[in-house]
Structures are given as structure tokens and as C-alpha cells.
Amino acid sequence: MSSTAAVHDSHDDHPTGIKRWLTTTNHKDIGTMYLTFSLIMFLIGGLMILGVRAELFKPGLQLMKPEFFNQLIGVHALIMIFAALMPAATGFANWMLPLQLGAPDMALPRLNNWGFWLLPPAAILLTLPFTLALFGIGDGAIATGWTFYAPLSVQGGMGVDFAIFAVHILGISSVLGSINVIVTILNMRAPGMTLMKMPMFAWGWLITAFLLIATIPVLAGAVTMLLTDRHFGTHFFDAAGGGDPILFQHLFWFFGHPEVYIVLLPIWGFMPQILQTFSRKPMYGYKAQVYSLWAIGVLALVVWAHHFFTVGMPTPALLYFMYSTMSISLPLAVLFFCWIATIWRGSITFETPMLFAIGWIILFGIGGLTGLVLADVAADQQYHHSYFVVAHFHYTLFAGGMMGVMTGVYYWLPKMTGHMYNEKLGKLHFWLTAIAFNFTFIPQFFLGLAGMPRRIPDYALQFADFNMISTIAAFVLGLSQLLFVYNIVSCVRGGKKATDKVWEGAEGLEWTLSSPPPYHSFTEQPIVK
């Protein structure tokens, strides 16, 4: 394989400098840009929430006005979901799907370039109102939380408009990305690679892409209605004109719930590949995992109203949404058992990706179990909109999402850069992250159970101690991500040469290429038997 690569190496003439990145249609370049963008936005979003945690260090208002606090939590969430997690998944898709499927590139390279370059303007739209407010223009960014709930969002300042347009642009970007992924997976696989021989990562992303196509337009429609309500005299959500604010919640969560799985499915895809690599055993239950992923993808579309059980639904609706939500835990449990069975009695070694993968199974498991508590209608009346919810979804989206992304980064970084990262620093990063994460969010479970509401900058004295622990741990968590950045940067710049296979137990087409792979790879598709 490396001999074919050498022939093509001489032809990979491409523009250099900024022009290379602006005009590139190469899946590896675009993947790199997605991942870099994601990392930068992860740091910005993290900085915002450290501001929030600093304010919550002590009861009372010390650092900021409540309005600014509200802006920080909303933009933090929008950035972490739309500008950090989703681009990270798309970055992996760009880098690894063609390599894993034996394709020369993504199916629609120019669309791919456009899909990425929509992201920076959207990020600017999200954060610009902060800067404008410094100059006395407007009253800051969106302050409704990331959910845009009407009627607050109908009444809000121009930050809401900025966020609406940002969501439009981000939505277009992810729909383009999804179309590209589906076409690549369905049409570009190497000869002989049937769907059921595909790497699990491709399955996870395929379902994510279908979910995005089904739900992102609904979000786009909902925020468009919000926009026309705000400026063009429609009354979709305005009760005074015959509209209904609850309708917004239905529309939003019809997108919002599948969104959780959109973010997680690509990670559920590559995680078993990583587990099998470091267990030196074949993946357990390939078919069961594929069917479970599909089951979750379908169920994700029909459970949305569990996000607002307290809104006043009739009992039959409550029961339906409770049982359908809880039924998701069945295919998810199948996945968990497959992951555990994959490492069961393997010859396990604990390199950084494996540490992250195992930590991820445990922490994401806690996220799933606490989700079952919230899915219980009777219990949710108490826990709704409390810090219990905040802790729960950070176990799924930080541990399940971000730590999943970190797992993938450590796993594939040597392949992408051709250098080994610093293993000691990687392990230190894992332990700091895992421990600080738990110290940040376990106290929040208890705060929520004790009745502390989310999205409020001040709290009763009885919550002070746990908030102090949570804030200190959050700062440790935030600072330890600098190790991650340092490790990535130094790995890109140099380090021990990585072998083609990198990991002893690695399986899959991407490991048959050199590290780093040539600029154009698989121009002649490999035959899969």
C-alpha cells in the first residue's frame, strides 16, 4: 500500500498557506480544520462556563449581573453542542470515513469545503453580541438558555436574532455534512465491503446523518417562526395573537432530543473499535450493535416530550413519553453489554485512549442511569429544571460526548500526524479530567436533589459548600484541558515516529496506510474480502 502512496505523493501539489485551507477540498485538510475549530470553540465555551462557576462559587452576586450570567449559560451550551461536539464528530468523519471505507475522498468534496467554512461565521454571530454590548450596542447575547423558549425568546434583545441566524447557518452546515456522509458511506465503499462489513464508526455516523436530515430542518423551521414572531407580526408562539408558547417546546425538542443521539452515535461507533484494539479481541456482537444503533435512532424521534413533563400534559401522553423514553435503555443496554463483552478477558493494555474509553463507559453509564430517573414522570416533577438535570446531561455530553471525542483524538492522532503523542501527559490528562469531572458534577446531583434550580445566578446558603467544591473542581477540569492542547500541538509538531499500524491490536483499512497517510489515499480502492 505504501508503494502506491509514494507514487501519488509526488502529485499532491496544492496551494500553500492560507489559500490551501480556504480552497481545500481534501478530506484530511477539512477534517483537520473541523477538529481544530472544535478544539478552539471547546476552549471558548469552557471559558464561559468557568465565568458561571466563578459566580456560583459563593452565594450572592459577586462578579456579574444576572443578565450576563444568563447569556453565558446559553451561549456556552450553543457553542459546546453546535460548535464543539458536532464539528468534532464531522471532523472525525472527514478524516476517517474515507480511510476506513477505502475511498479516495468524501463523495462531495466542494460541498465539504463549504460545510466547514459556514462554521466560523456562525461562531462569530453567536459571540459578537458580547463584543457589541461592550460598545453600547444592544444588550448582549441570547439570554434564554440554549433552548430559545418562547415567550422569553420572543421578548429578548437582538442577541436572540444573532443566535437564530447562527443556528440557521450551523444547521445548513450540518445538513450538508450529513448528505456528504450518507453519499460517501452508501456509494464510496471499497469493492467487497458490504454494509454489514462496514466499520462500526460508519454505522454510527450513517444514523446520525439521517437523524440530522430529519430534525435540523424542524429546528430551522422553529427558529424561523420565532424570527417572524419577533419582527414580522406572526403569532406562532404569541398567546396574545392566538399562538401557543408550548408549541415551541414541541418543535424545539422534536429536534433537541434526537440531537443528543446525533452527538453521541458517532462516538458509539468508534468506541467499540478502540475497545477491540486495546483488548486484542474481535468486537463482540457486531450485528447486535448495528441493530441497537438503529433502534435508538428510531426511538430518538418519538420521545421528545420528556423534556417538558411539567408543562401540563394529560396522563396518557405522560405515560407514553415515559415508557417510550425508558425503552431506549434496552438497546442502549445491549450496546453497553457488547462494549463490556468486547474487553472481557482480552489482553488489555492501558494506553491513553483505552483509559479514556473505559472511563467513558463508566461515566456515560452514570449519565444513562440518571436519565432513567428523570424519565420517570413522578420523579421528574421534583427534579425538573434542577441541578440534577445539569449533572445528568453533563455525564452524557461531557463524559459521553467530549471524553468520547478525546478518546478518538488520542487513538487517531498518531495516524493523523505521524507522531506519537506524549503518553505520560496523556495519562495525566485522563486522570485529571476524570477526577475533576466527577468532583464538578457529583455535587450537582446532590444540589439538584436538594432543590437548587438551574440557570439562576444566586442560591440559598444551604447550597454553598457543594457549589464551592463544584467550582474548584470545574477550574481544575478546565485547566487540565490545557495539557490536552499542549499534547496535541507538540504531537503535530514532532515526536516519536508512529508506525503504520500504531497500535498492536489495530484493525481496519486506515491502519494499512502510512502514518501520516499520503495527501491522496486509496486512489485505487482496496478490495475487501
Binding site: 430542518p217 417562526m225 398567546a239 396574545a240 408549541l247 418543535l251 394529560p314
Partner: protein
């Protein structure tokens, strides 16, 4: 760019694949369009479902027929609450907070509104019933919420509401809360322009 290295046979595969890609892209684009249409179709769908089930607590907007029978065997307590939305300089409250009615029996209650500003203000009351399941059974014969209400500066107006609770109302509903939110009607018009 890449096809340079292929033989004729590979080039044929390449164009065939491009055709297949284009076909699939078109299909998927239709999927996106369909999902967008679905989002807007959800609005009327939601309103129809709410109208049938009464889920969102919106009562009838045209006067209802009087009921012929009265169910004297049970009583339903109707609680009245009110709120004034920002931008409307009124005081607005029910004269009595609660009335007990037999299902089918016609009852009159009064809300009192006072304009505390120096100008003529027009308002529109928006009702909401809780629990939502009771909405279809709460029938209004006459209501100040059927029209807009204009008040002169300092004017106090007694606003009547005549209603009955349909005898078909579920047996397990003992309390119905009727809430009115008064909005500034002129502001709504301005927004529409």
C-alpha cells in the same frame, strides 16, 4: 484530478459513481425539504390536536349554545385568576375568586378592570383553562374576551362572563381553574404592521 491515474475502465466507473452520487444527493435534498415542510405542518396539526383535546386550555371564541340539562348530583368548583401582561397599564381582577356550579347550570361572574394610565387603552383578554382536559367542557355563552375592550383614562369597567360547565365533563374533575391574561391589543396590531 485523480482520474488521470486511472485507466479507461476506471474512468467509466468514476462517471457512473458521479451519477449515482448525484441521484442520491437529490433524494436526500428532498428529504431535507420534506422535513422542513413537516416542521411547518406541525403548527396546524398541533392546533387541531389541541382543539380536539383541549390540551392547551383555549376556550371557545364564539358564544356556545345553552345546555338543556343540569346535573344536580355533583358540583364543580371554578377558580378564577387574572394577570396583566407587560405593556398594559391596567388593574384587572375577578370579583369573586371561586364559584361552585352544577354541571349544566348557567353562572355569571364579573371581572373588574381599571385603566390607571392617562390615555385610552385597548386590551384583549386571552383565556386558559387548567386542567387542559376540562377545556372542551367549559362553555362560554357571553364573555368580555370575545371582543377587545377599550378603557378611557381612569375608567373602571365591570366585565361579565356567563358560562356553564358541560354535564359531559369527566367525573374526576372537581376543580377547574380559569385564568385570563390581558394583553395590550394596540401593541399587537403595531407589531403586525
Amino acid at each position: 484530478m485523480v482520474s488521470r491515474f486511472y485507466g479507461c475502465h476506471m474512468a467509466a466507473i468514476d462517471t457512473e459513481r458521479q451519477k449515482a452520487n448525484r441521484k442520491l444527493v437529490i433524494k436526500l435534498t428532498w428529504g431535507v425539504v420534506g422535513a422542513l415542510l413537516f416542521a411547518f405542518a406541525l403548527v396546524p396539526l398541533y392546533n387541531v390536536i389541541c382543539k380536539v383535546t383541549g390540551l392547551n386550555g383555549k376556550t371557545n371564541v364564539i358564544p356556545a349554545q345553552v345546555s338543556k340539562q343540569v346535573d344536580l348530583t355533583r358540583e364543580v368548583s371554578v377558580e378564577l385568576t387574572s394577570s396583566v401582561m407587560p405593556g398594559l397599564g391596567w388593574n384587572f381582577y375577578p370579583e369573586t375568586p371561586r364559584v361552585n356550579v352544577h354541571p349544566g347550570e348557567i353562572q355569571s361572574v364579573t371581572f373588574i378592570a381599571k385603566n390607571v394610565t392617562n390615555e385610552v387603552v385597548t386590551g384583549q383578554a386571552i383565556p386558559s383553562i387548567s386542567p387542559g382536559q376540562a377545556t372542551p367542557y367549559f362553555k362560554k355563552i357571553e364573555c368580555f374576551c370575545f371582543q377587545r375592550q377599550a378603557l378611557n383614562p381612569g375608567e373602571v369597567k365591570r366585565m361579565p362572563l356567563r358560562f356553564y360547565v358541560s354535564p359531559d365533563v369527566q367525573k374526576d374533575i372537581h376543580v377547574i381553574t380559569l385564568s385570563y391574561a390581558f394583553y395590550n391589543a394596540v401593541k399587537i396590531d403595531k407589531k403586525r404592521e
